[in-house]
Amino acid sequence: MRPLTPQRILATCLGLCGVLFVVAVISLRMGAYPISVRDIVSTLFNAAAGRRDEVPVEFWQVVFGLRLPRIALGILVGASLSTAGAGFQALLRNPLADPYVLGVSSGAALGAIVSLIVAPHTVGAIQIAAFIGAASTIAAVYFLGRRGGQLDSPTLLLAGIVAASFLSAIIMFLLTMVTGSELRSIAFWLMGDLTAPPPTTNVVGWLGFLFFVFIVAAGAMYTTSSDLNLILTGEQEAKHLGVNVNRVKFVVYIAASVLTGLAVSVSGAIGYVGLLVPHVMRMLFGTDYRMLIPTAAIGGAIAIVLADTLARTVVAPTELPVGAMTALAGAPVFIYLMRRRMR
């Protein structure tokens, strides 16, 4: 018997952070303008020491103007989607649940597009609208996915598919209202894209705000991780053991919707990360949610930074949307998991 300890969680997370750092350095190095690892390290070191004069201007622009904000955004989006996916899987007691499969990302995307049309210049409006879209969709899917008062796995997935296609139809309808150049950028964004410019010139402040929202939502979900372990063995059993199931479900529902809305509002609908990363982390570190939530967050960040690096290098100088890369890897694994579950 070797129960989980905070020390073991911390050590695992530090190890994963090391992997994330290596992936981030590789991502900083690669692209249309290659920079050596030594130059990257010296640029970062000089920037940290406040010696901007010693950094060549083009290095500064590429590292701090382009690649680092994009990596930071990738970390935020990957961590948010993956944490939301782990939450949805427990909330709906369905291992195939994920913001994209359940149509929640489409709901968030619809909210984001509506806010782009109605209030295009209001900072933060897109995030709030994406959250409302995500929360409304998961509520609808939750009620449509019930049969005889119980959540039914196939019905739930069908409800997600129906919701996603219905919301996509509305999105297409709304897109007919926007002009040609906007249409292309929104269509690209819908596929999952990290190149959208921030809505303000204060990029650091903007990223800080987004990370703050992430920490609050993921932290709230983490407080329920012991409860989620019991809910995974059945809601009735969790109640017998003293879990306030309704409170836990409410916290996870709000936190997962915030995280999905946050990710979709900055990157569009990136699929399968929320599904696959929690599964990989379960295989590596076990099913305990006290370990799963932080490792899934860091694992999701690694997955998106890696996928984005590939998306902008495999067909360079052209770029693929990062969502296309995750779907290429994710769809076959989703089918594998579904078939294994049906057996």
């Binding site: 018997m1 129960p3 007691r93 369905n94 991780s225 063995t233 003293g242 099913t287």
Partner: protein, 288 residues
């Protein structure tokens, strides 16, 4: 013997074991009833009429009855998962429906028929879940928790299973592990919902013997919902018989097992005889 249907004056029967009446009272059910309705305004679909009975420390009580007689509803009332429409249910002198969720889980453990795991779990991880009621919401298990979980596994003879995966256990092994998690809760009242349903005859006898031992040696009050008339007669101190939401009789097996009563309740031609142990035994009368 006492007839309780309809909620009249109740004379509670005494347990059969000598000296049991001097043991402290653990469970007191006083005119408890419940009704299920489709909506708040519609007529109830099913009503469990008022019933009263008591159980003491070290007592094993069986709730018997055919399908749709109200056994599961009664168990949910005892577990505090449903609040009685009328009457009271007390455990150790405190009304169950007023207990805080975690305090309730420290007093009452319910062993469900089946544990449906979404992701694979090792036996020791599963049993450690029984320690959840003893800590903060976000908690890490202490050495004491591990010791108590290990003791619970030993109590049900499942020590050797601790590193196995739950989904690789046989029906009997799984039932023992589920029971071990309930024991890890250190409850005073142990409720079991048809625990013998998926077991062969050897497994059924072994489980009931184990429950009898837990009641006798560890002072648990054990309440078992079962369909099995003969096992209930052999191992329980008293029986609560339910029929169509009513409680026609409560008493020792000898008091409850009357041919006419059982035939009426179970709607089958039955014969009651006294077995080798001196307890009643029910046989199906040939009808071919």
């Amino acid at each position: 013997m006492s007839s309780i249907a309809g909620g009249g004056a109740v004379a509670l029967p005494q347990p059969v074991r000598s000296g049991a009446s001097t043991l402290p009272l653990r469970l007191k059910v006083e005119q408890a009833s419940y009704a299920y309705a489709a909506t708040d305004r519609s007529a109830p679909k099913f009503t469990l009429g008022p019933a009263s009975f008591e159980a003491q420390q070290r007592e094993l009580l069986a709730i018997l009855g055919p399908n749709a007689s109200g056994k599961s509803t009664m168990l949910k009332l005892l577990a505090g998962l449903l609040k009685p429409l009328s009457g009271r249910i007390e455990v150790d002198g405190v009304e169950v429906s007023e207990l805080d969720l975690k305090v309730r889980a420290q007093k009452i453990a319910l062993v469900a028929q089946e544990s449906e795991l979404l992701f694979p779990l090792r036996v020791w991880e599963y049993v450690l879940q029984g320690r959840y009621p003893y800590g903060r919401r976000l908690r890490f298990e202490s050495d004491e928790d591990c010791l108590l979980a290990g003791n619970a596994l030993a109590q049900v003879g499942a020590d050797a299973l601790r590193d196995r995966w739950m989904d690789q256990l046989s029906g009997g092994e799984k039932q023992r592990v589920i029971l071990a998690r309930a024991l890890a809760q250190q409850p005073s009242l142990l409720l079991l919902d048809e625990p013998t349903q998926h077991l062969d005859i050897g497994g059924k006898v072994e489980l009931l013997r184990r429950l009898r031992r837990l009641a006798d040696e560890n002072r648990y009050t054990v309440i078992v919902v079962t369909h099995d008339l003969n096992l209930a007669a052999e191992f329980s101190d008293r029986i609560v018989l339910l029929h169509k939401g009513k409680c026609p009789r409560i008493g020792t097996p000898a008091e409850v097992y009357e041919r006419e009563l059982l035939e009426e309740v179970f709607e089958a031609p039955l014969e009651v005889e006294i077995g080798y142990s001196g307890r009643p035994r029910v046989i199906l009368r040939a009808t071919r």
